[in-house]
Subunit: 299 residues, 2 copies
Amino acid sequence: MQVSPADSVIGFIGLGVMGKSMAGHILSAGYRLNVFNRTRSKADELVERGAVWHDSVGELARNSDVVITIVGYPKDVEELYLAADGIVAGCRSGSFLIDMTTSRPSLARRIHEAAKRRSAHSLDAPVSGGDIGARDGRLSIMVGGEEEDLQAVLPVLRTMGSNITLQGGPGAGQHTKLCNQIAIASTMIGLCEALSYAQKAGLSLDLVLQAMGAGAAQSSALNNLGPRILKGDFAPGFYVRHFIKDMNIAIEEASDMGLDPRGLKLAKQLYEELAREPGGEELGTQGLFKLFARELSRS
Amino acid sequence: MQVSPADSVIGFIGLGVMGKSMAGHILSAGYRLNVFNRTRSKADELVERGAVWHDSVGELARNSDVVITIVGYPKDVEELYLAADGIVAGCRSGSFLIDMTTSRPSLARRIHEAAKRRSAHSLDAPVSGGDIGARDGRLSIMVGGEEEDLQAVLPVLRTMGSNITLQGGPGAGQHTKLCNQIAIASTMIGLCEALSYAQKAGLSLDLVLQAMGAGAAQSSALNNLGPRILKGDFAPGFYVRHFIKDMNIAIEEASDMGLDPRGLKLAKQLYEELAREPGGEELGTQGLFKLFARELSRS
């Protein structure tokens, strides 16, 4: 059996840059939508479009067949799901709980166990594709959990993502997302170093992006964030502070497995330098270029 | 005026993985082709198809309207062009000399000056896109030199590349290619670290590549080299030893400009570790994964 707008109410928690677009797609697909967010005003637009506001996480869970969350940090996820008045305590028997936050694989497994004891189904389903992917409903969704649970909620995930892959059991979605962040971390260093070199060498950054984008240096980061860097647009599609959180989790997990990801550690160090600048944490990840540009102006 | 198969003879020096494909496209477009290569046997296939072998660089230059080179190292480029019996000494007045090797910007400027004194036109025009880009005639060609010289030789460059950009005066093509290599260097670290994490976490590398390729971690490296890594195919599209050469030039140039490219330096260090393994230098750049896999098996 699959969820459908006719018989399933969706609850959505976390209306940040990504979540707001994602919840909007669910509403557009005809689902009844319950919403909750720490900052209530971020729900206004969705409520105007017909979403129903709930004053607590527990209340939202009690009134939803599927609960979707995308928030900031693992501690937020843990509290949302596992607190006494949280999602697991409040959820309906047989309901589906989908955490789309990038979080710890071990936490995903704990939530899965807790949900099972309440006869609910849990999936970890973090996403990649940034603000543009979320806006266009073309996210890559990396799922950990049971195959039949994924099949059941696929219609609602399809409103948000164009590439949905079951990566394995509980936690495997999170592990895959960490792989994704590891790949991006060093790619961002390369992109920003390349553009700072180009600037220092007196090249046209536009022409350099064009040439790199047509060859082996092409990347999603180059295509999507390169032009923002050139325009001086450092607004967050994805926040520096959230990226640092992801890198911290990945480094811990990698270390636990006996790996020494030197590129990832360097990226974390550089992003932490950026985060120590005034306003640095609130930039988008392309803000790394500012760190390199600052070094440029010093030399 | 532009070169055309009717009135221009092309000379091609350097028939490695890339050069052989590129020279083949020129021949296919109907140009008469002179060839020279350090290892003569690599010219056999082209000679069978109608190319004319020359026993020396000088002789090839004396018999060509356009001379194209793509060899290994800056010292090879310097000798080819500036030796007493080299290309500049032998070239026809009004001829075009195009170096497509990734080499030093300062050497490109010296060749440009030397060519000018012989009334010849020189362009630096390194390429990106790897063995597949060369095979398909879809390279990104990054050109430094005079606009009118590029216009003159555009028909022959178009047989090899689909994206041809004039980046500035002599040396600007090389600077742009170094930007390209800087971006790739850290991207390769990210890709190999991500796949080694995936392997250690017990994920399906196929599914992880699929998920990453659909999101913000997508890159040309992931698309083209990821599948080769999964197949255990470490054959060179682009040699580790040539990549180290490029990174060395980029680090020197960046340092001269007062930059400290930490990602690039880490990449060079990792690739040098790989090069110290038996056969490591002769792998393709995706061989970096073997270094990470080796660390995996140790831990």
